[in-house]
Assembly symmetry: C2
Homo-oligomer: 419 residues x 2
């Protein structure tokens, strides 16, 4: 494990001094007469459920608002729509399976794994059809990757619109995938020398397809059957999906039933009329697959206001890049005039979410919170206007610009723009 403090250059002792002593000392009120201490609570006086009550556990009823949410006006029908990960309620870098945002085009396919097959055809020496059991006979690997929809933050191109990081940035999740490197499967079939592209196809009613260059397919793509230790969830492609690390989520075809190998891309709907980047000139960029370096402050944020008043405050957020790890995250409390390096904590994996923190002493005055991530290739997250200067405002996809939250005196937080 990486030392959680090593990136910031602080010693453990200096963090302790900064955070626990000094001007930001936490004033804990005397609570000797607090009824929560002086009175017996119901759970101290009665026996709870036994170990036979929940073969598969669920969250506390007090966490009922930590859920995925959809925005009904966003699409014509919930079967071809999206819901959003509640980033403001989450900690660390792993998204629990029950809270991973969903995007589907024909609803959630409920596939019987015994009747599911993966076909490899096209430019191969030997077309093959695998059962799920066949696939589990290949060497397995485990990798932590984020999956982000290319349309994440897409509403922000034209201005601050949705009030909460769940809605502005919640089309991303990060889990541990277990599966087989796609190259092992392709090499079992024998890829012909003129093969340049692959096309994964889904088994749901929408039969999703995308074109992927053979170099990516033979590099880090996986055929995954598990997430966070258990079988894929139905809405994430149970029993099989393709994992395309660092690239836009639409390519991670779910309910994966077929991979065709070809010598040119297929120019299907999802790579022509959709998932292209319309520029101000009227031209559209195609095949912009990599997800750019990005970050967002998850607390304080519109759904996670400051409720404790002045004094010691924990700012927390997420950063990620489709090109590698996160080297540094800077945070600003004044809309980008002054920047401080945040503390990146916990495991750092390539093409995975990273958690950052900044502890500060809030004086109760308004704040303009921003975060700016820098990845291991040196890419820096741009301001909204810097991005618009290059890309215009007609796009939907690949908005990785800096987000601003306005913290008011009462601790409430709003989505605003400062450039």
């Amino acid at each position: 494990m990486t030392d959680p403090l090593s990136k910031s250059g602080l010693s453990r002792r200096s963090l302790l001094t900064t955070a626990v002593a000094g001007s930001a000392a936490l004033t804990v009120p005397a609570r000797a007469n607090d009824p929560a201490i002086t009175e017996l609570q119901p759970w101290m006086q009665s026996l709870g459920d036994g170990v036979d009550a929940r073969p598969y556990g669920t969250p506390s009823p007090y966490e009922a608002d930590a859920v995925r949410r959809d925005v009904p006006w966003l699409t014509a029908d919930p079967i071809s729509s999206v819901n959003f990960t509640p980033l403001h309620k989450l900690e660390g870098i792993i998204t629990p399976n029950g809270l991973c945002f969903e995007r589907h085009h024909g609803g959630v396919a409920e596939v019987d794994p015994a009747k599911h097959r993966l076909m490899i055809n096209g430019l191969v020496d030997k077309p093959l059809v695998f059962t799920m059991e066949d696939l589990k006979r290949f060497p397995r690997e485990n990798h932590v990757y984020f999956l982000e929809c290319a349309a994440n933050s897409g509403m922000e191109w034209r201005g601050a619109q949705l009030n909460g990081c769940q809605f502005t940035h919640g089309m991303v999740h990060c889990v541990v995938y277990t599966g087989v490197k796609l190259k092992h499967i392709l090499e079992e079939a024998g890829v012909k020398t003129n093969a340049k592209w692959i096309m994964p196809e889904g088994a749901d009613a929408s039969a999703m397809t995308r074109s992927i260059p053979i170099e990516k397919a033979l590099d880090d793509c996986m055929v995954a059957f598990a997430m966070n230790g258990e079988a894929l969830r139905p809405e994430q492609g149970y029993p099989l999906r393709i994992v395309v690390p660092g690239w836009e989520g639409n390519m991670w075809v779910k309910w994966l039933r077929r991979i065709e190998v070809g010598d040119e891309p297929w120019h299907h709907r999802e790579e022509t009329s959709k998932y292209t980047d319309l520029l101000a000139s009227g031209k559209a960029r195609r095949f912009t697959w990599e997800m750019d370096v990005k970050s967002v402050i998850t607390s304080p944020s519109p759904q996670a206001p400051i409720t404790h008043g002045k004094g010691r405050t924990v700012l927390s957020g997420l950063a990620w890049s489709g090109r590698g790890t996160i080297d540094r995250v800077d945070v600003s409390l004044d809309g980008g005039s002054n920047w401080t390096t945040a503390r990146v904590d916990g495991p750092s994996h390539t093409k995975a979410l990273h958690r950052f923190y900044h502890e500060f002493d809030w004086d109760g005055e308004p704040l303009l919170l921003q975060s700016r991530a820098i990845d291991s290739e040196g890419w820096v997250q741009p301001t909204k206007n810097a991005l618009r200067d290059v890309r215009g405002t007609e796009s939907i996809y690949h908005n990785n610009s800096i987000q601003t939250w306005y913290v008011q005196k009462d601790g409430e937080v709003e989505n605003v723009e400062v450039g």
Copy 2:
């Protein structure tokens, strides 16, 4: 991320050659007439559930047997009992929250976080009472740790008894904890110089208590409020538990309401009549907190037999140590006569589960599968009889010996002893 192959000394190419080509090539039958391919399946022809159907998702109905299980005859009542993690169904190193084994002594307390407090008292300058919101104002950290009950594999002292790694080894789970280092909280209260021990106490009806040396408390202990990204589950201590990395699970007091600081241990029930190691001499060892280096093969295993017949086979398992990381795992197919180094894959964190694999070509003859882990301090997992020579057979706790699975010609697997 660690290169998944670096520990084995194999290059990526040599793994590919070993696993995908050569004698162990996977013979995939021609399936051109397979009805799963030639016939349209129901999920290809109809629309599924929309994004508004499951605000908090659940597993596929086809995974209904991936659940925690209890053993009714093991204890007098399910409210003071244990259920077991289904290790044979899991991949990677993270246990999904819904599948983490439970052990409680008064049932699952359903605590209202608004009425929950953490009191620090005893040998401190200033006794303090924290709300949950107070605790979230300290600097947070994220760590992957396993939690193992000291009684895990306890039935094996007297011989092979339970048929499945869920029951022999399933009192262990591994999650990412988010919380605050305990030392920050203790230093806020000011620990007196004569303080030598702490005693965490639970808010459930059993009011669990254990004595922990102050050195451990000020080292890596945490007060955790989240696991795998979301709030702790009720059965894991919602809203607060103490995390005691690498040490026996009974010390990880749940529903944490109080920490007393003292100058000697409290000698309470769970460290005198329970959680001590009875030797053949009649003497009992006390305060044996660290969980020793251990491993188990999760597949093939009694609940995960070989169903595909001869040929390429994936052996998979878990290894862990309360003293650090795992340096090496050896596997034997012949009951310990010959050993091969397994491939450790995925993230390696101190005091966390590690996943290992061994791909081999099964000739259809019986096998005696064993795994033997070696940790970063050089400790080696012992055979059952080597452990009994030192500790006798009267103990319940701290059995870290090598497990043997007997694979029969038909692929069925049994728990057996070979020494």
